[in-house]
């Protein structure tokens, strides 16, 4: 195992899975392998993928770390952004203020968990309802139309760079690189892994456990906010309930990506590959006219399937490298 907890079994497995899934769908509909379709998959995956990056940090910090409020943050961010834009605030300023608000929402989670010492699942369940409620109040319960906004703003979710979606090239991939560097290349990442592994030992080794975990919640609030902004720009509308499905799917992706739910392990690289798998499967099912009602169940099947395949692989590797 790498010093910072990187293990390559799960990423390889996920890459294989993505190829297999794609091949499977291509049997039904060979034209799924077109550029336009890959494009759609990427656009679908980017937003939940960003949220999952922050979620990875929170979960790997241990102490049953989890952020159930990410989807609510994304929705609230959209509403805040929408109100600002409708108040004729210049769009770069509106985006900046929204990002600041997102950091604040993450900080509230951080304080609830590290300072008030509320169990993360309860604290973020509470803020999930709080943020979602606030989004409804601020929006009056209706969607805010943004289609008339500056085309520069709308490009955040609809633009193209080098022939690929803007949000993939200019936002998601740089974020992924930054998070991977943060996790595997910096002292913060190392300290967070140690905290997730054994927080008592970490505190007694002089690590500031509360701050390390708190920072993860703040960063998670930030990625959820960016995802919310991208979503609003993509659809040209700010919806108070925009991210409600993302709360649990982001957790499923993180776990699928190989981050242990007890903390101290995992990588955003695995999370990114898991996002690819989910994006392919979700899009492929729709493309093959699968009843969308079954799609949620498929994610569950994939989760269990990966574990069932991985265990023998790990056992085989353990035998080989003994």
């Amino acid at each position: 195992m790498h010093a910072s907890g990187f293990d390559r079994t799960r990423p390889l497995l996920l890459a294989a899975m993505a190829v297999l899934a794609l091949a499977g769908f291509a049997i039904g509909h060979p034209d799924i392998l077109s550029g336009a379709n890959f494009d759609s998959m990427a656009v679908f995956g980017v937003e939940i993928g960003m949220i999952a990056l922050g979620q990875t940090l929170v979960i790997s910090g241990g102490d049953s770390g989890i952020d159930l409020s990410v989807g609510a943050i994304a929705g609230l961010a959209q509403v805040v952004l929408g109100r600002l834009l409708h108040a004729d605030v210049a769009w770069p300023l509106a985006v900046a203020v929204t990002l600041g608000a997102g950091l604040g929402l993450g900080a509230i989670n951080a304080l609830a968990v590290t300072w008030l010492r509320i169990a993360p699942i309860i604290a973020t369940l509470a803020t999930l309802f709080g943020y979602a409620g606030l989004a409804l109040v601020l929006s009056g319960g209706t969607n805010i139309d943004l289609t008339q906004q500056s085309s520069w703003f709308l490009a955040l979710g609809q633009g193209r760079v080098l022939g690929l979606p803007f949000q993939l090239i200019a936002l998601y991939l740089p974020l992924l690189a930054m998070f991977a560097f943060l996790q595997h290349g910096t002292g913060y990442g190392r300290a967070l892994y140690l905290t997730g592994t054994n927080d008592r030992a970490a505190a007694l080794a002089g690590l500031r456990v509360g701050r390390l975990r708190g920072a993860a919640y703040v960063l998670c609030g930030l990625t959820a906010t960016i995802a919310g902004i991208v979503g609003a720009a993509r659809l040209g509308t700010a919806r108070p309930d925009a991210g409600m499905n993302d709360n649990l799917i982001s957790i499923a992706i993180v776990v699928l990506g190989g981050t242990g739910i007890f903390g101290g392990t995992g990588s955003v690289v695995g999370t990114a590959l898991a996002t690819v798998v989910i994006a392919i499967v979700d899009y492929g099912l729709s493309y093959n006219d699968f009843n969308p009602i079954y799609q949620a169940g498929v994610i569950g099947v994939i989760l269990i399937g990966v574990i069932l395949v991985e265990n023998p692989v790990l056992a085989w590797r353990a035998r080989r490298f003994k």
């Binding site: 195992m1 002292g187 892994y193 140690l194 592994t197 054994n198 030992a201 007694l204 002089g206 101290g264």
Partner: protein, 504 residues
């Protein structure tokens, strides 16, 4: 007539041979001590006997019948029970529920019959001089000593004929130890076979009639206790001539003058300690001796910022300080090696390197906020080399190392930093004699280098061996400070247990 006979037991883990043809005979009415350094195979042998590990070769016979245990329940049914150092329990359940865990007596519809279970246990408790009111207590509310008693009760309830004690006294107070020995002696006289595993040589003479020494997975000797003296035992165990253990390692430092490196005065925290004064001079080892529960660790944690005192002052080199957390205490130059290796010390699944450098990550920063991985590796290799940590390389998981090497690594984590005061809480608990002696030498070196070192220990020979002066604590108070000629075992023990006021 042998009750249990192990013959030619071999167990390999991958390429490592943990047990290499071990024979062991257990006779009813005899206490059989099992000695050996860490990694000698004691734990594996117990796990073979209790069915937790299936041996690759060899035979086990119980009462003349050959047995093959593939599951702990089979060993338990054959009358073999074990009492572990840190009892594996269900902390949230009552004592009664713990005793019958997995063996509940049930009536119709599977309803648990509490009354009937209590009726079965009550005479057993009486046998062990335990009050019947114990049954309704929560397991987690009991001290470790009582938790062990509960496990013994469970063994009696299962009518175990062989009871294995795995280093039971290493975290017990003196009184608890005495009580345990009385019970073990009673169990032996009832005709049970007792296996007693320990690191403490003095205990063997007190309790065991026969000793078997394991070295590197083999039996290096079996003898009656009466035929062995301490030097012979040590030679058998370490496989080499041992040092004269219990004597000072070198001339004691002269009493220090001037401002102590660390001074705590009138320190009080209700329920933990009251009016505690510690003077810790630089360039010396200050021993702190006291039984478990004497408040020694809590005082140390106050200096380390982990457990704040309610009253009193802490001064570092004459300057008053009030560290709010360990990080702040470390910045001031205070280090603390915690007493519980597994819970408070190691990051079990992480590499040795990350464990060694956990306290100094902040110092290894390269350009662009990147960790200086080469620097970290270099520091780890330096510590591994200097403190002679036995490991394949620095990337190996610390959890795979022996207990002694894990402890050395934790010691190195602290000793490798530049500090003013280093507090070592039970620096050698549960590790083999060879490693223990090495750590003692390192401690002396640190003091000789000018560091103010505190060694907290409930192992009196250890405190006597490494300390220049000794603070004795009992029930949250300092009851004596011994220097020079006053540092003798009897006086210190007497003041620690409150038997005598001479040492005060």
């Amino acid at each position: 007539m042998a009750l249990v006979e192990l013959k030619g037991i071999v167990k390999r883990f991958g390429g490592v041979v943990a047990l290499d043809g071990v024979d062991l005979t257990l006779v009813p009415g005899e206490t059989h001590a099992l000695l050996g350094e860490n990694g000698a195979g004691k734990s594996t042998l117990i796990r073979v006997m209790t069915g937790a590990v299936v041996p690759d070769e060899g035979s086990i016979t119980v009462g003349g019948t050959p047995c093959r245990f593939t599951h702990p329940a089979q060993a338990s049914a054959a009358g073999i029970a074990a009492v572990y150092q840190e009892p594996m329990i269900y902390p949230h359940l009552s004592v009664l529920e713990n005793i019958f865990a997995g063996a509940e007596m049930t009536g119709r519809f599977g309803i648990v019959r509490r009354g009937a279970m209590a009726a079965v246990v009550r005479p057993l408790l009486e046998q062990l001089d335990l009050p019947a009111s114990l049954l309704v207590r929560r397991m987690s509310s009991l001290s470790i000593g009582f938790q062990q008693m509960v496990l013994i009760t469970k063994a009696l309830m299962l009518n175990a004929q062989v009871i294995i004690f795995d280093e039971p006294t290493s975290i017990l107070s003196q009184a608890e130890t005495d009580r345990l020995f009385v019970i073990i002696e009673r169990l032996r006289r009832d005709g049970r076979a007792i296996v007693y595993i320990t690191h403490r040589l003095d205990e063997i003479r007190r309790i065991a009639s026969r000793v078997t020494v394991l070295t590197d997975g083999r039996v290096s000797g079996t003898a009656l206790t009466s035929d062995l003296d301490e030097a012979k035992l040590l030679t058998l165990m370490a496989g080499k001539a041992s040092r004269d253990y219990g004597k000072p390692l070198r001339d004691r430092a002269a009493p220090a003058h001037g401002t102590p490196a660390l001074r705590m005065a009138g320190l009080t925290r209700a329920g933990a300690y009251q009016n505690v004064d510690w003077d810790v001079p630089a360039g010396q080892v200050t021993g702190v001796y006291g039984l478990v529960g004497s408040g020694r660790s809590e005082v140390a944690l106050a200096a380390f910022g982990a457990l704040r005192p309610e009253r009193g002052t802490i001064a570092l080199q004459g300057r008053p300080i009030a560290p709010r957390d360990p990080a702040e205490a470390m910045r001031l130059g205070i280090g603390y090696l915690p007493e519980d290796r597994k819970l408070q010390g190691i990051f079990a699944t992480k590499p040795l390197e990350a464990n060694l450098t956990a306290g100094t990550i902040g110092r290894f920063r390269a350009r662009g906020g990147r960790l200086d991985f080469a620097g970290l590796r270099g520091e780890a290799l330096r510590l591994i080399g200097y403190y002679r940590i036995k490991a394949r390389d620095e990337t190996i998981g610390i959890g795979t190392l022996s207990g002694g090497n894990q402890q050395k690594a934790l010691f190195a984590r602290w000793a490798g930093q530049s500090l003013k005061v280093l507090i070592l809480d039970e620096p050698t608990r549960g590790i083999d004699i060879g490693t223990k002696a090495e750590i003692h030498d390192f401690i002396r070196d640190l003091a000789a280098g000018g560091l103010a070192v505190v060694v907290i220990s409930s192992d009196l020979p250890e405190v006597l061996a490494v300390s220049d002066r000794i603070i004795v604590m009992r029930r949250g108070s300092v009851v004596g400070v011994a220097e020079g000629a006053a540092m003798n075992a009897e006086a210190i023990l007497a003041s620690a247990v409150g038997a005598d006021a001479r040492a005060a």
